[in-house]
Amino acid sequence: MKEISLNLLDIAQNSVSAGATLIELTVRESQAEDIVLMSVADNGKGMSPEFLARVTDPFTTTRTTRPVGMGLPLLKMEAEMTGGGLEIKSELGRGTTVTATFRRSHIDTPPLGDLKGTVVTLVQGSPDIDFVYRRETDLGQFVLSTREMREQLGGVPLDEPEVLAWIGEYIEENEQSLQGE
């Protein structure tokens, strides 16, 4: 993927497909620690240890017999290429947490890209899911919770264009304050 935010979108779509009602997205970036971290935690249907072993080790099967898709293997490869890695914790019936780390200074680490585009896309596609988006840099952090938004919005759905636009602006403005001048 050209942007880490696109991996974030792809991995979060797994959580949507897994029937999650709460999806927590975290994007942490630290120059001091030389790290870029993205994680997606959900309360969806989870995976058995046997299944998990296959998703994370897809190269044991050929492309045609592979029982699962490309999203997780792709992210694993991209992260490892930079000296980072992929970790998946999952429990059947409870949920899944996928965490990818990249070495920030590595030349193959893609830019974060359009993070607000990813959050807006997720909310547009699943307005009834509770999303928590957490963004951290060395300069600070902010959080957006769609459940809190819903309380303000009464019955107005989150996928109304005006609400989606507000989310984009909110993230953009807070993002700027995390980038210094």
Binding site: M1, K2, L6
Partner: protein, 123 residues
Amino acid sequence: MAKSIAELKAIRDRMQAQMNLRKDDGDSIRVVVGMATCGIAAGARPVLAAIVDEVGKRELADVKISQTGCIGVCRLEPIVEVFEPGKEKVTYVNMTEDKARRMVSEHLVNHRVVSEYTIGAAE
């Protein structure tokens, strides 16, 4: 001035007034954007954003936009399907932001299919 979540109350008051006027009589046009790994890698996110933006700006209240997993062929992504009541499904392939905006104005507004972007033209 910093944005605050309390601003949403103003949106709510405005929207609730409008929503009461809205009808959902099954006549709506459905637009479906493929948002699986292939689609995302090929650029489905900005295509969806352009459709949402254009439909919002034009206040096309009878257009419902949704996302789906894999629609089919990776090399044809981003793929957008349009379902109009009583008509055959139209499949747009290799979409871009610009093509998506034109699709909205010609197809969703004027009900003219943009044939050159459809799967028939691509094959």
